[in-house]
């Protein structure tokens, strides 16, 4: 009985892994394909990696995407933290329900609608006050901030609601003004949430195709937009090479983060055990 169940579990796990990773594996394998035709294997080669490094368009788009993602993540963390703090700590006030709704609306809004409405806003703004001039990096960044700050706000709010509020009260009780308490007590305590909020905003911006397509202008194509337009003309092995590099970067990032967290957790466990042992 037990044996049969474990066979079942193992095969289910194998199937699950296969389902998730075979597409990625085949992509990695074909990035080393000699042939220009993606579906025909013609021998091992790294020439597409060389071609990728020569491709100004893709490299430019990648650099642009990283810059936008960086600015977006930084601003979104600032704004999202403020929104999350207000929602978690200010108690009841007039317009709280409205603020909650407005903060979380971008989470459920279809991207097409967000993109279209932002495009209309930017066009109207330009004709009224002359800013933002044309569409490009600025408009993409603003558009990304509007939806990624919603995710940050939710992360910060949920983190704050699990932090004992009396810690902040204790700091006030000991003579620190509320603004100071926020910077020297609240922020350090929620710093893991700030980091994960920043990373999430960064990834979402890097990932976004739909909204960026609406609000970008000439000469400001982000990486997903370039990849998408290239794929429509037929999948190029260069894109496979690019995707492989991205997968490797992301995977090593995740493994590194996992190792660091594992270490920290082990150290923490050991400390706690020592404290308990010392007490007995």
């Amino acid at each position: 009985m037990n044996n049969r169940r474990s066979t079942f579990l193992v095969s289910a796990m194998a199937f699950g892994f296969a389902f998730l990773y075979i597409p990625i594996l085949s992509l990695i394998v074909f990035s080393f394909n000699e042939s220009k035709l993606v579906t025909v294997w013609a021998g091992f080669s790294t020439k597409w990696y060389g071609a990728l490094l020569q491709n100004e368009q893709i490299l430019g788009a990648a650099w642009l995407s990283v810059r936008i993602a960086f600015m977006n993540a930084t601003v979104a963390v600032c704004l999202g933290t403020l929104a999350g703090f207000v929602l978690a700590r200010m108690g009841r006030f007039r317009g709280r329900l409205l603020l909650t709704g407005m903060t979380t609306a971008p989470l459920v809004m279809p991207e097409v609608i967000t993109g279209l409405s932002l495009l209309l806003l930017f066009v109207a703004l330009e004709s009224m006050i002359g800013w933002p001039q044309g569409r490009g990096v600025t408009t993409i960044t603003i558009a990304h901030i509007t939806f990624s700050m919603a995710y940050v706000a939710v992360i910060i709010q949920s983190r704050l609601s699990s932090v004992d509020e009396s810690v902040e009260e204790a700091a006030q009780d000991l003579g620190a003004r509320p603004a100071k308490v926020f910077f020297i007590i609240t922020l350090p305590i929620i710093s893991p949430a700030l980091v994960s909020g920043w990373l999430l905003a960064f990834t979402m911006s890097l990932d976004d195709l739909v909204i960026a397509s609406f609000v970008s202008g000439p000469g400001s194509s982000t990486l997903p937009m370039v990849v998408f337009s290239k794929v429509r003309l037929g999948v190029s092995p260069e894109i496979n090479a690019l995707a492989t590099i991205i997968v490797l970067l992301v995977a090593s990032g995740i493994v590194a983060a996992g190792l660091v967290m594992n270490q920290a957790e082990k150290r923490r466990q050991r400390d706690v055990q020592m404290a308990v042992a010392a007490n007995e």
Binding site: D164, A170, A171, D173, L174
Partner: protein, 380 residues
Amino acid sequence: MADVKRAIENVEPWNDPQAQPYVRIENVTKMFGEFTAVDSVSLEIYKAEVFCLLGGSGCGKSTLLRVLAGFETPTSGRVLIDGVDMAGIAPYERPTNMMFQSYALFPHMTVENNVAFGLRQEGIAAAEISKRVGDMLDLVKLGPFAKRKPHQLSGGQRQRVALARSLIKQPKLMLLDEPLGALDKKLREETQFELINIQEELGVTFIVVTHDQEEAMTLSSRIGVMNAGEIVQTGTPNDIYEYPNSRFVADFIGSVNVFEGRIVEDQPDHVRIESQEAGCPLYIDHGVGVTSGSRVWVAVRPEKIEITRDKPAQQDNCAAAVVDEIAYMGNQSIYHVLLESGKKLRITRPNQSRTSSDSITWEDQVFVAWHPSSGVVLTA
């Protein structure tokens, strides 16, 4: 300094008409919407006192403490500390410090930095801070743990960090919310005495909130018993235990047997009460000053009732009973006996010798009796 000394020497300032209260709470009411958490509470607390607010959960004791700390604004009434009205003074400007139930230590700071936090806010020179922090850590016996973070400490050590962190500001008034609530029983008993030693050494005025009556009895100079937002009785632990003013207090502090009855004779030096439940005339050696025939309750503590096999000589305060249950607790035994009226009494007897001499056991016919001074007449 002279003030502190006098307050310590004067053991019962609340009985001294000359003494000036240090903390005055005047008709403080706190409403949350329609709910009244604190209902016109007035208290006078003297310097270097340990005053316990005792009550069940939701009785408003923690809210009152938060009003004193400045985290809640009273709906009406006012609070004076050392003669200064606290209205409009923010928590970070008050001469009070609070020790939170959860300790609320700063998790990202070492023990040393936790304790130094309050002094840093005052802008005191670094050299003086480190000296005072060192002294305080020695006082609470945490010197060797100065560089640790809170998660590297045991519960008892965290409790002492929290205490040190609030005491180092030398507050005029120290507020403690269930200070021993998170400790296990043995540690709690040790810590109670340490807490009082430190309090006496520094001469700080303590207001302690607790739901644990034993804790209140051992810690406090006086207790204020709270129920549904109101202070129902204020007094020394002895007053509260021996002379409760209502059935609520009698029942809340320790356990008690209550007989319902009617006054048949009320003299300045004694009362006689007729009680169906007791099945015997009740005689108490103090007057009550209520009209004859009015309904009253007589409370008798379990340890003040005697059980005997033979009928005692006294007529009053003596009834026949059957032993229903016996619980052996080690240091004492608890007897549940049934009176003829069906009323169940709880009686405790210390186990002075290893084997009980009269060996009263289940289903035995016995007599219960108590002294005229043991009962208390309650009118509410």
